[in-house]
Amino acid sequence: MTPSSALLSLADFQDRFAEALLADGDADGRLATQPGFAVHRNTVMKGWVDALAANYPSVLRLVGEAFFRTAAVAYARMHPTADPRLWCYGAGYADFLATYAPAAALAYLPGVARLDRYWTEAHGAASAPALDAVTLASLSPAQLAQCRLAPHPSARWAWSAGQPVYTLWRRNREANGSEDSAALDWQGEGAMLLRPGASVTWRSLDAAGCAFMDACAQGQPLGMAAAAAVAADAHADIAALLAVLLQDGAFIATHIET
């Protein structure tokens, strides 16, 4: 059914119009067969596909235009969103790619997509002053072990087991002509994205670092977070890890609880 009747309620008209917008092939009905209907169909699909391309530039660069476009159209048809903000369109794209059969051989692709998504989330996250090392230095060792560090609102991190996802993502995100063609070391990698000031920054974060941040995000005290890091990697250097995280601005200044 496509919209054609003068007697439709507005809701019925919208139902039929929306159905015809996403219908495959030629629809019947006096609206959908008009040449102008294609303008709306094209505008809608182009809006979604262009938004995915803008929000997942590393995925686009890895798979190329044709593959990306086909995957984007499939995603757009399957995953309607109520959010009209195109700059955050595609929240579920990484999960979709994990189940998208044509991408089955590209096991790293969902992980790369997830880092693109983290960039978008970090870019639009709330601003907050970051905790500095001086504040922590004033605490006694006992206080330090008990204090809870809250991750910065823009902080996003993930560990990818078995896939050099961060290197793949970074090479494609930073692509600026000076191609890094060094062979990939095919092993697990983690990354953290963060927007401490005006722009999004990123760094590699090992398994211990990711476990540490996970524990902090769960509200665990520093002592427990350190234990989680050591559980992930028995050789973890907690002091060095914490120094790096503080230097990057990975925690909120105002949330020191002891």
């Binding site: 919209p3 102008g36 938004a51 309607p80």
Partner: protein, 279 residues
């Protein structure tokens, strides 16, 4: 406040620096508020920087006022928050729908102009004006389709919407031209009939012929300079209603800032004699 607005430009991120330092007389900028519904970050900071130097108008595309349902309260709340934050010179939305049953479509979709649709729009414009505590402007749509069941002429429909809701109109001259060509009505007659007292803002933009159908189907693509026919309609409008805040819209194939400034200077020049007459 709108009395100080001359000719302005739709603001694009690529032009932030040039926009910030621009000091043309009567200059103002317009943005889609949806692009700034973020908790923080550089985009919002940029908008606030622009706002510290220029009047800014918010031109919404996502509230879907012509739906048979109320606008998403979350998005209306975000618009109200952004409006409070940057004190816009004008807030506008479209006479169209784009969200329905949990799906947001990145387009401005048409509907039959029935009494039911009119009442839905009156209610939804009222909700928007209540949330923002201000009068808003509603933009006339582009048309690509012959829709059965129109009970109202478009101008009468908009005038009645304005009368019942208290809103004003954003008259998009390019939309009038595109719709007139696609549906076969007289653009000049349309321009001549829009009630002058309701026009809060005017939009000018470029269009492109459909790649297959050519001139038989014009597309409101915002990716080209304002067409000569649209300039002629604009001059005709200004001669009748006097100067109104006028915006040059360009979303794709973005040229240099100076190229857009030349287009807005042309709009300003067309308004200058009318402005002197009004003074």
């Amino acid at each position: 406040m709108t009395a100080t607005l001359g000719a302005g430009l739709a603001l694009k991120p690529a032009h932030y620096e040039a926009a910030l330092s621009c000091d043309a007389d009567g200059m103002w900028f317009e943005v889609h508020p949806e692009n700034y519904y973020a908790d923080g970050g550089p985009r919002l900071a940029w908008l606030e920087a622009i706002r510290s130097r220029h009047p800014v108008a918010l031109h919404g595309v996502g509230l879907s006022l012509a739906s048979a349902s109320a606008p998403d309260p979350a998005h209306l709340g975000r618009l109200a928050a952004l409006s409070g934050r940057i004190a816009p010179a004008i807030v506008s939305e479209h006479m169209a729908w784009s969200a329905w049953r949990g799906a947001a479509y990145p387009d401005l979709l048409p509907f039959p102009r029935t009494g039911e649709a009119l009442q839905r729009l009156v209610d939804n414009v009222g909700r928007m004006q209540d949330a923002l505590k201000r009068r808003i402007a509603i933009e006339n749509p582009s048309h690509y389709l012959r829709i059965e069941g129109h009970a109202w002429d478009e101008i009468d429909f908009m005038a009645e919407l304005a009368r019942r809701s208290g809103c004003g109109l954003l008259l998009d001259v390019n939309n009038v031209h595109v719709g007139a060509r696609n549906l076969g009505y007289d653009a000049a007659a349309y321009i001549d009939r829009v009630p002058a007292s309701l026009i809060m803002e005017v939009h000018l933009a470029g269009h492109t012929p459909d790649p297959v159908l050519g001139q038989a189907l014009l597309i409101d693509s915002h990716d080209a300079p304002v067409a000569p026919e649209v300039w002629a309609l604009y001059a005709r409008l200004v001669a009748r209603v006097g100067p109104r805040p006028t915006l040059i819209e360009r979303d794709d194939h973005l040229p240099e800032f100076a190229t857009l400034m030349a287009e807005r200077a042309r709009a300003a020049a067309l308004m200058a004699p009318a402005r002197m007459e009004a003074a």
